[in-house]
Symmetry: D3
Subunit: 305 residues, 6 copies
């Protein structure tokens, strides 16, 4: 069960209203790398986790992320607070209002007109949050790696936001939130590496013929070698012929069809064949300007459909 304490995890002190900055901060509220995504990722993992240590840790961190969602949400709310009244109460002139919400340095018109200068679960472009952002798949050797990556991404987005504001209270709260991502990443790393082994993830072994091959698929000036494709463990394959049909087969796709499936397919093929022996007049030619190249194959032809 969740309980709520009215004190925030981190005090929020904002110097002045700034709806444009509020809009940027939405990235960490309703954006793909934001706190709702984090909370939902760990909470859903916790629910179906059976390992007691991991379940406890996931719920600890999910709960903290909800508390961070509350902190970043209050930053947005405070930055928008001065904007809440004028539009709702209609006290500015219309031209002034229009200028305020559409002005340079302030892409907040959607937040204001649609969401009333509130704290919507959208990112800074106005895109609603979606659970498509959540990559939980229910296998800890994969999910913990997803969590580690997610914390790294969130850390970076906070870093960029910090670089965009000089409001000391905003900066300080963002720094706290950024720092906590680092701490969470460390916990997830520990939990991953205390699964032994954890690589390759899952249970099925790979096919040894292909597990240490590096296919040099992109060729030309700029080709480089490094530990990711060179060294004892790698077989490096550049020959285009050895990159295709690597199983030694013909590289084709086939399926065995039943006679009645074959018959139906033949009917379909016949009905819809694009006859390569034909050079038909086309809609493009009908529509081309007289005398242009495009129209010339049709010029003077008598159509007898």
């Amino acid at each position: 069960m969740f309980a709520h304490n009215k004190r925030l995890q981190y005090t929020v002190r904002v110097t002045e209203s700034n709806p444009g900055l509020a809009n940027l901060l939405l990235e960490q509220f309703g954006g793909p790398q934001g706190e709702l995504a984090a909370a939902c990722r760990y909470f859903t993992q916790a629910l179906s986790e059976d390992d007691p240590g991991r379940k406890d840790m996931l719920m600890d961190i999910a709960t903290e992320e909800l508390s961070h969602l509350e902190v970043i949400g209050h930053l947005v709310a405070m930055l928008n607070k001065g904007a809440k009244g004028p539009l709702a109460e209609g006290i500015d002139s219309e031209a002034e209002m229009y200028r305020k919400i559409n002005g340079a340095g302030n892409d907040s018109h959607t937040t204001q007109v649609l969401y009333g200068a509130g704290t919507p679960l959208i990112n800074s472009a106005g895109v609603p949050w979606t659970a498509a952002y959540i990559d939980t798949i229910g296998e800890p050797t994969a999910d913990l790696r997803s969590n580690i990556a997610a914390e790294a991404r969130a850390k970076i987005v906070y870093e960029r936001l910090i670089n965009c504001t000089d409001d000391p209270g905003v900066k300080e709260a963002l720094t706290f939130l950024m720092t906590r991502e680092v701490a969470h990443q460390k916990s997830f790393e520990k939990a991953l590496y205390s699964i032994e082994p954890n690589f390759p993830p899952g249970k099925l072994p790979g096919d040894p013929r292909f597990a240490s091959v590096y296919f040099n698929m992109s060729q030309g000036e700029g080709d480089m070698r490094g530990s990711w494709n060179q060294g004892e463990q790698w077989m490096f394959v550049s020959d285009r012929n050895e990159q295709s049909a690597v199983d030694g087969g013909d590289g084709l796709a086939s399926v065995q069809l039943k006679p009645e499936e074959m018959t139906a397919l033949d009917m379909l093929a016949k009905r819809t064949q694009s006859n390569p022996t034909l050079d038909p007049p086309t809609g493009a030619e009908l529509g081309a300007a007289p005398g242009t190249d495009q129209g010339k194959s049709l010029k003077g032809k008598t159509i007898t459909p």
Copy 2:
């Protein structure tokens, strides 16, 4: 520039049509952990990457993932091939057709009616692929971790698919695809760790007061300790009072408003106050059945709006 060779990277041999299995395999074609997601993730990173080694590797692997998209796509196409004709040509009785696309063990009706037994970019539930699945943010210490995690997830989904089919040709091709995810994960690990240092990701240091704290947010029977929250590096905080307002402030959110912002806000507050001293009759009470609890506070009242 991309070039295409008609030979697949791995030969596809399917034993018989099976639209239900085709539908499951869509997870790795148009699903969140599938090959389009992989190809797009690495391709977009490659485009804006300036590090020559990483750029080359990303384009190598992106190109291979496109080739995998082609392999998994041909598996789907072959499994659906027997189903393409009958619906298009109308050669089954309607009842038979209905049974075929809606039968037990075969959730392929959407694929067939909407997509003509083709290879749509949807997952096995019919949800269209979305770039919201892509978590690239343009910082290699984060993106490489995202790639590592993505390969781990894809490996697992292939593993599950392999566990759901006994068609040997399908199993073999899926095993190849699964194995390559392992190889790619190894390359991304190498590329990540040849950035020194790579942790914490990004540039800004965290606030040392909070970088090694573990907040025990979820409490009760089942609390556990492990390397993720215990040991020399962790400060473990269970006291609820020390979990909130950790900056030492009052844990409240505040902003300094201009007088005219304040005035507008006051007007808004006054107009929309939910007066706590009032016990108003409500719509619920109006709508409750006579004599029920819900209605009683309204009973016999005279309304004088």
Copy 3:
């Protein structure tokens, strides 16, 4: 700040694994009327609310909805628990596994293959949760009505789920969750009606000429009158002429353009005019079977583009 207690708000006791039922219950976990939607709706309202009573109530109920999300999530997790192992560990035969996840009465294949029999934030059709479900707009006389409606909808979906299961533990927990929606609706009604006045919502008065008119737009057998369109307060308008251009104008749309805008528009109009005096041969006619109706206007014509 949120805190978490490992005891659920309501004890979850499930009789046996049932992934098909788990899939249905996802409606109230990651579906549009589910608990995440409820929690997010009230939480976002609470964050930017300035009225102290309403803010407190919204956070109380948001927190409870999070606790409900945990209860419904555990119901799903328990119903899926027996399914977690076999696919991950590959201990069933492949045919058996295929039958299990694709069988009649069990639309759980996506949940199992993609999400590992976990608790994904999707609805029962597999559609990821989206903040597009949240209708908060930051005006309490509207938002409270949205909350009232949302509680009514959630109550109904729980009712339907209860009608689909005879597992007594599931039924009991669902009944608790359903009941709480009723209680929350009552709170929101009280908060709405303690705003005086709360109708019409917002501040601007309507145009009195149109505020009490009912336009009978759908006509024919079956037209009915009732309190929604008849009685002292309504002006009922059936005459089609009085339904259009109700302002007394010409019912047309116009804008005053600058000369250079006019010029550009004229160029565009001229370039793209569909000339009504022309009966051109078309692509459809080119493509029609010889001798059919569709082709006849083209027959024998000489095309001179």
Copy 4:
């Protein structure tokens, strides 16, 4: 059947082109609270409604909303009209064109480049309309409440738009549209309250133990009482112990598993255990800068995987 009359329901007279304002007005065309959402909400309810009075009313109002969609669409079209030509015909210099569509006070670049200064079904942020906005669930005591709330929201968004423009023709048409939302809300209220009883919605009674409880989930300075949680009808519960496991059970989640399910689960648990007795070196430590805190637990360790 629908018929169309070329006269609009309300005359649209726009003073001058203003693509920036057009963009804002898209909120009520293709936005979540806009006219397409309204029309679709009532139309879908009408189709499956069996109550003759309600069906008639729903179709009346759906038809009117379509007519409003046409009015707001024409407002957008007129405001964009002057912008249609220059980009299509390429008559401005490129720099001038760039400035026009990207200028301050005018976030119309997407509408112009992608949609040709037309009337796309997007909101003011460019997000395509989605039926996820529609909350119809097929139970009138819920749907009518949803309709009442939707009308209230639409009224407010119109109010905000009116506050952003001083074009008298735009203002007047928006006021008409706003006013009609008020009238529709009144009709829906009448239809709801002529269902007796209509509260609680649906058929199943709630559990009387929980229907009048208010859980004080958010605590701390700022706790308030009001009619929404105090008075004769409410039982107010603040004690955290009485808020969890309210059924009197242990507050845990359990399911009875079959032996073979248990076996598979044990295999999974063993394979993926995060061993709490281990303090493993991790990827974070590998990647940390030498001498930093993060790396210290790894320093000097010999790794023997």
Copy 5:
């Protein structure tokens, strides 16, 4: 199999950084009419195509579109390149940074903060690419028409972009990409018209009673005739009575229900009837301001629920 050559299909030479222009160009990278959509459309068609000529052509063009995706992607990457460093490295002052990403003429804040000045698969409004843009349905007489239309649309969006930039290198590369859409359209036209017949698409004949009727559904001043509704082949129907129930039936919808279905429906109808003979007090009336019109039907009434 795909192979990659590091040389682009077209050389990209950009004069100077311009993140605002980069943002516009995203329309053809991750927008609905862009190159990813094109590549995916033709690639998915190629996979399940059995006609050898068409399959080859579709894969040729899909591969070229991928190469175009790479060209437009590099245009975006080069235009963003100067913006990559400052935000990541934090070398501008915060105020300068804020101004840079939020400035007039530059709607690039989302691209920069969320995507690190990279090449995300979004359009110029920030909306993630979705496979809902792909209209492939697996029938060539429809799909080829979809391809023709898609090429036409892409051609136009390129044209608009060309009209927005005076950077000669950008202009030249865009012109190449635009031109190739024209060439592709011609190929698709040829492939369509070498299917004989190709109109009407598919196999089932239409009902001859309705195949050549034009219903004049929109009436009033402005009605026009042209080859699309006049001439030998058209039957033009303006009489409203002849536009409905065109089958000669009653124009109603009916279904034969089983007795038990009827019974359940009657229960539902009774429970949820909106009683037309009742004028109930409503929530709107409860909430209206005293003395206003809206409240008057309730005034002085004694409520006895």
Copy 6:
């Protein structure tokens, strides 16, 4: 303005309830090729169209498509009608209800539990309708082609649905709807070809060097020639060298950066370089099982971060 007549355009007579078939029919109600998409496509074009003939035609057909949406919606409603009561009124046993909505041949559980056996704007997979389906871009030579293609697609989906049902009333109504798509396609073809010229679409000429080139990008066994790439008008390019850098440049991407941009980029590059001369121990190696290949490069190494 729209007006509604209670008689449908085509009489709907359904033989018996069939929620599974209702679910399939949703493809043409709320699916991508369905009637809402059609109505919205033409309606939005009509609104911003200035050509009087085309505007009239577009509104005629948009209005008819709305009337078709009503017909297909009533088909769905009738097929679901028998299912509405039992779940709402709870008159079946729970096991019977579960079987009904989850049974073989009937994928209607989402429609029933979430939407109350109504007519939701989703497709047969449960995916909500989205305006991302609409491809209108505001240029008639493109939009009319999009309309032609859309009618062709809708015709085919109706054809498939007709092949799945033997209910004569359903078949008949579907055939009417299918036929009308053919008629609409003819009108759009006429309107397109009465624009002279209409190809290439738009205004800017293509670059003549590239307008008639066919790049043979996919090579290998199966290469074919046909009118789409052979004949007088085509230059066919198979040589891989002539397919890249076709402008004669170096095929590279470049941008001119300012010194300060260069500096920041250098800092970024240095900080995030993946050093190719290093073979670092990685997380994968840490996590690999002892003695396996994956772990060997780390074995026995002393880590000194």
